[in-house]
């Protein structure tokens, strides 16, 4: 069946269509750090990569396998991290992502994978700092 038009919020559709920030970090100055979470039983796999320079995230990219909400969440997080100071990063958990994306409850398991990838990234980033 076709994906019903009403199932996805405008935010999800916008991020899904553009997948802004998908791909790998281009070579640049600063330290590259990544964080990843995989849960194939939930059909979600997310990897964030950031470049940190002078205490700030100067670039952020993601790679992801998953449903439109998973891809949109990864894209949204990548966009928010870019430019953020490492000591004052925006807080994201699955609940806030669900609110921002207007995601249905059954997507929480997948959004938790995005949250886990972000936690892994931040732990690695603080270790580098």
């Amino acid at each position: 069946m076709s994906a019903p038009a009403t199932r996805y919020s405008a935010t999800v559709r916008s991020h899904f269509r553009s997948l802004a920030g998908a791909g790998d970090l281009p070579p640049a100055a600063g330290a590259a750090v990544s964080g990843e979470a995989v849960a194939l039983d939930r059909l979600a796999w997310v990897r964030f990569a950031v470049r940190i320079d002078a205490g700030r995230i100067v670039d952020c990219r993601f790679r992801a396998f998953g449903c439109p909400h998973t891809l949109a969440a990864a894209s949204l997080v990548a966009g928010r991290l870019r430019g953020a100071p490492i000591d004052a990063l925006p807080a994201f958990d699955a609940g806030t992502l669900a609110c921002e994306l207007d995601a249905p409850a059954e997507k929480m398991g997948r959004l938790l994978v995005v949250e886990d990838a972000l936690r892994h990234l931040l732990a690695n980033a603080h270790r580098v700092q």
């Binding site: 069946m1 899904f16 039983d41």
Partner: protein, 393 residues
């Protein structure tokens, strides 16, 4: 944006405009407003319309009109055949043979028979999706009441050799039923093949209206079938209820049109399907579910490594209407039990697209569909984490 390309004919085929016109005319005709069961002149006029439709439907499957029982669709036909035939057998014959890849109508009817105390042998297909006559032969017992196997599988399109199975059943005096909802009007279906006692099909898979179908019930020897509903004794007592004349007019014409197209249409559709499969090679790694042959011409079930099915459907939304491996087996969104029976992993199942072609499908449609799908798969794969392409297949 152009209208979405319809490649979901196995779910339902668009109503043929000629059929729609005939149905509208029937509904509006003041001479066709009576109950076909009424004895007065107006009733007889309506009954003549029923007889016309019954003849048209019967001709498509090479049956006599008297062998056609009208129902509300293939689901009812399958239930009537399976439940009705086994319940009529009595306590001496309590065994049923069917397969794990039947349509939900067949599966659920057989599960109901299990709940009623019958024993069901569930045949598993090979990795090619085929159920073989030898498997059926090995499963038959002295107390087998019914063998019920679908002719064409609705998800992967593979064809069962019903002639061979029917022959086995004939030799043992066992009732054989086949669910032919996906094959009637797509390939030649012949109820005169020895051993076919019951055959289910419906109108909406072949350009007719939804809500009407038929069960072929062989005349001689006539299998015992217990009705599921009771009332006025319509349809030889097997299916009580006032007949919906406009539905039957549509069903009849749809069968006539499908029969007229059977000469060249199957080969044309098959060629288009293989053209699609060849063009989709640009989206490798990919795989085909079920054997390419024997099959009905219009169904292609294809899986794409590294693809999440919901994202693929959204990517195609507005451009192609098709079914996913997760959803086409039921309304629940559960992974397809048919693909699981073929040994596919859950990851591979959800990465599956069922593309089904029909009478309106053109070569240009196929080229456009292939181009859209290849582009969509490439875009989603471009975002994959390293290693995902290999693991998700």
């Amino acid at each position: 944006m152009a209208r979405a390309l319809y490649l979901d004919h196995a779910a339902t085929a668009p109503l043929d405009p000629r059929v729609a016109d005939a149905m509208a005319a029937c509904l509006a005709d003041p001479e066709l407003q009576a109950n076909p069961a009424s004895a007065h002149a107006a009733g007889r006029a309506a009954a003549e319309q029923v007889a016309l439709a019954r003849g048209q439907v019967a001709r498509l499957v090479n049956a006599s009109p008297e062998a056609i029982v009208f129902t509300s669709g293939a689901t009812e036909s399958v239930n009537l055949a399976a439940l009705g035939a086994v319940r009529a057998c009595g306590p001496g014959r309590r065994h049923v043979v069917t397969s794990r890849i039947e349509h939900r109508a067949g599966l659920d009817a057989c599960r109901q028979l299990e709940r009623e105390g019958h024993e069901v042998t569930w045949l598993a297909p090979g990795r090619d999706g085929l159920i073989r006559a030898e498997q059926v032969a090995a499963a038959l017992r002295e107390d087998t009441a019914l063998v019920s196997l679908m002719h064409a599988n609705n998800e992967i399109g593979t064809l069962t050799d019903i002639g061979a199975v029917a022959g086995l059943c004939e030799a043992r005096g066992i009732t054989f039923h086949t669910d032919a909802a996906q094959s009637v009007g797509k390939v030649a279906v012949d109820c005169a093949v020895p051993g076919i006692a019951l055959l289910s099909f419906c109108a909406h898979k072949l350009g007719g209206p939804k809500g009407v179908g038929a069960l072929y019930v062989r005349r001689r020897p006539r299998p015992q079938v217990q009705p599921l509903q009771f009332g006025g004794g319509h349809e030889g007592g097997l299916r009580s209820g006032t007949l919906a004349l406009h539905q039957l007019a549509g069903f009849g014409l749809a069968c006539e049109l499908a029969g007229a197209a059977l000469g060249e249409e199957p080969a044309r559709i098959r060629t288009l399907r293989e053209r699609l499969w060849q063009q989709l090679q640009a989206a490798a790694p990919l795989w085909r579910n079920g054997a390419a042959e024997p099959s009905v011409p219009g169904i292609l079930s294809v899986g794409f490594a590294g693809i999440e099915g919901e994202s693929l459907l959204l990517e195609l939304d507005g451009e192609i209407a098709a079914s996913s491996g997760a959803a086409c087996s039921s309304a629940t969104g559960e992974p397809s039990y048919v693909l699981r029976s073929l040994g596919r992993s859950d990851e591979a199942i959800q990465a599956t697209l069922r593309l089904s072609l029909g009478r309106g499908t053109t070569a240009q449609d196929i080229d456009r569909a292939a181009s859209v799908i290849v582009r969509a798969v490439a875009r989603l794969r471009a975002a994959l984490p390293a290693g995902a392409l290999e693991r998700i297949a």
